[in-house]
């Protein structure tokens, strides 16, 4: 009996050890490339190579010297915020209107609103360029915003739909029975319940926008160009650690964003309901 218990204990420990090792290896596999990018950004050398000797902020100074990096980073951040905001304004009412509707038309409309995820971004970008130009918007910040909103809507829609369907209609019905008007029901009942979905969707939308190249590519102007487009153009002619430095800055912004969400709302709230 004792021997069998001991064997089971050993097997359990071995299993835990194997699982832990696998998780650690997987974590290293995911994080190592990012760590390399961060490490390379501090090289004093002119070339991307490891290992290197010394430590330098030379390539961070280059970010200030080469204006398109800083300008396009600001454009990307501004665009990500705005497109997430507009996506919320479109996707949340749509999700509320369609979430509990089981008609074929509603199902088709949901599928239509989620469709941009399934279409290659290059196709969306090229099509929107010609379409928006025909509408008179041309190559402008407005067109860029519309394009980024199109690719952001499915992310907000998906998360809000999932949360809203899980909530059930009891709370809203109870509020209505207690004389709340539709606006009061939305503000005091529905909104707090679906907030995690809106938050998570907005976060996804912002990250998708920040990272997007294929759509932004077609709408760049002299004053409005996103960071990925500038990075691509830079890389085609120059390959130095400035790219690692700007990537590190971009990562820090994303981490800061997540920290703000964690401090103000709590990341756990985004994953539990």
């Amino acid at each position: 009996m004792k021997a069998r218990l001991a064997a089971a204990l050993v097997a359990r420990h071995a299993g835990n050890w194997l699982l832990g090792s696998f998780t650690l290896l997987f974590f290293v596999f995911l994080v190592a490339p990012i760590a390399v990018v961060v490490a390379v950004s501090f090289t004093p050398q002119a070339a991307v190579s490891l290992p290197y000797q010394g430590f330098s902020f030379r390539w961070y100074a280059r970010l200030i010297e080469y204006r398109p990096f800083a300008d396009s980073l600001l454009t990307s951040l501004y665009l990500a915020l705005n497109s997430a905001l507009v996506a919320v304004l479109i996707a949340v009412p749509a999700a509320l209107a369609l979430g509990r509707n089981t008609s074929r038309a509603a199902t088709a409309t949901v599928a239509f609103l989620l469709a941009p995820i399934a279409i290659p971004a290059l196709v969306i970008g090229l099509s929107l360029l010609y379409y928006l130009s025909n509408l008179g918007l041309g190559v402008s910040y407005t067109s860029l915003l519309v394009a980024h909103t199109v690719i952001s809507v499915p992310y907000v829609m998906r998360t809000v739909l999932a949360v809203y369907r899980n909530v059930g209609s009891d709370y809203e019905e109870a509020a209505a029975v207690l004389s709340a008007n539709p606006w009061q029901v939305f503000i005091h009942v529905t909104m707090p319940l679906i907030a995690p979905g809106i938050f998570a969707g907005s976060l996804f939308a912002m990250l998708v926008s920040l990272d997007n190249l294929a759509v932004s590519y077609f709408f760049g102007t002299a004053n409005v160009t996103t960071l990925p487009v500038v990075m691509l153009s830079y890389l085609q002619n120059q390959f130095d650690p400035a790219i690692a430095a700007i990537s590190t800055v971009q990562m820090l912004i994303t981490i800061a964003l997540l920290l703000v969400v964690e401090r103000t709302y709590g990341l756990r709230a985004l994953t539990t309901q």
Binding site: V86, T221, A222, S233, L235
Partner: protein, 344 residues
């Protein structure tokens, strides 16, 4: 419904606000550029002197030729770009789609100083500012006696005297820089590239060749010792030599290396000021500044190079000028044949 109406009112207000906040370009002229050191030299040599001389403002769009051509094609009556400076492939695309103005020396006087063989690349719709030769970049330590001809390069690779990198089918220089070049050397024609592919296959079978699809890979591979040699652009090779790797050498083996022009074109319905800017792009002064910075051969025959750059500049005798229009007509078949036989 009231709720939805309130939401959509908010959306409309937000959209209107964004439309008004859209930053329209206020510059007198909008031109294109590749990013990084290319853009910096371009601004210093052409844009800033132009702004100083004319008192006009110039905006520079960063990106790629496919992006610029489509932006113009989508807005042909009111193009967002007045002058395109980009690749020869992009130049052909813009020309084929009827997006350009024809140019003559009467409108752009400095065109009279340009090498007519290079001006021919524009087909009347623009001219090259510079061109880069696609020859051999090599490690002077690993290959003290580099091949003097392309045949020597192929045979040395097959024998394992060095490890070499060639452009893959997805790299811009594959068609003209490798296939058209080898067709010229080993026979065949643009309709029959088999003799050229046979040589590539020989090198591939030897195991001494890798294929690259982005311009940074050969620089890193040469630095790490993974390769000893690569088919590469001269200006980029010398920039790497000066900045990071003094062991790099470069040469154009006999009978020469294919020249890739950097085309400048005036967009139809763009600002008339574009003609003045084109004249600046054709000027000996502007091109001398740019060519010395980027280490590419200038199209203006009066350009003087600084002593350090002069011996590095591709000469006409060692440059092969191919018809990119003819190559573009057959390149879909070339890609298919390459994919079937080489597969990289």
């Amino acid at each position: 419904m009231r709720l939805l109406r309130a939401f959509y009112t908010t959306v409309a207000i937000a959209a209107t606000a964004f439309a008004f906040s859209a930053s329209a370009s206020a510059a007198d002229l909008t031109v294109t550029a590749f990013g990084g050191s290319w853009e910096q030299a371009y601004r210093k040599c052409f844009v800033q002197p132009f702004e100083k001389a004319t008192g006009k403002s110039v905006d520079v769009i960063l990106g790629t030729p496919v992006q610029w051509v489509n932006q113009i094609a989508a807005n042909p009556q009111k193009p967002p770009i007045d002058v395109i400076v980009g690749s020869v492939e992009g130049a052909k695309m813009a020309r084929d789609r009827g997006l350009l103005d024809k140019l003559t020396p009467a409108e752009v006087p400095n065109m009279a100083e340009l090498n007519p063989k290079l001006v021919a690349y524009g087909g009347g719709y623009g001219f090259p500012i510079t061109y880069g030769a696609y020859g051999l970049m090599y490690s002077t330590k690993a290959v003290p006696n580099p091949p003097k001809s392309w045949q020597e390069f192929v045979e040395g690779t097959v024998k394992g005297q060095w490890k070499a990198a060639l452009p893959s089918v997805s790299y811009v220089a594959n068609a003209a820089g490798l296939i058209a070049l080898f067709t010229k050397i080993y026979g065949g024609s643009y309709d029959n590239i088999q003799p050229a592919l046979d040589q590539v296959k020989r090198m591939q079978a030897s195991g001494n060749v890798t294929f690259y699809s982005d311009p940074n890979s050969p620089l890193m591979a040469l630095r790490s010792g993974d390769i000893d040699m690569a088919m590469y652009f001269d200006g980029r090779a010398w920039a790497e030599h000066d900045a990071n790797n003094p062991d790099i050498g470069y040469l154009n083996p006999a009978p020469g290396a294919v020249g890739y022009p950097n085309m400048a074109q005036k967009v139809k319905n763009g600002s008339p000021l574009g003609l003045q800017f084109m004249n600046a792009l054709a000027s000996a002064e502007g091109q001398a500044c740019f060519a010395n910075a980027m280490q590419y051969a200038a199209s203006n025959i009066n350009v003087k190079y600084v002593p350090k750059v002069q011996p590095r500049i591709a000469t006409e005798e060692r440059s092969i000028l191919v018809s990119f229009d003819d190559i573009a007509a057959v390149s879909p078949q070339w890609v298919e044949t390459w994919n079937k036989q080489i597969g990289k």
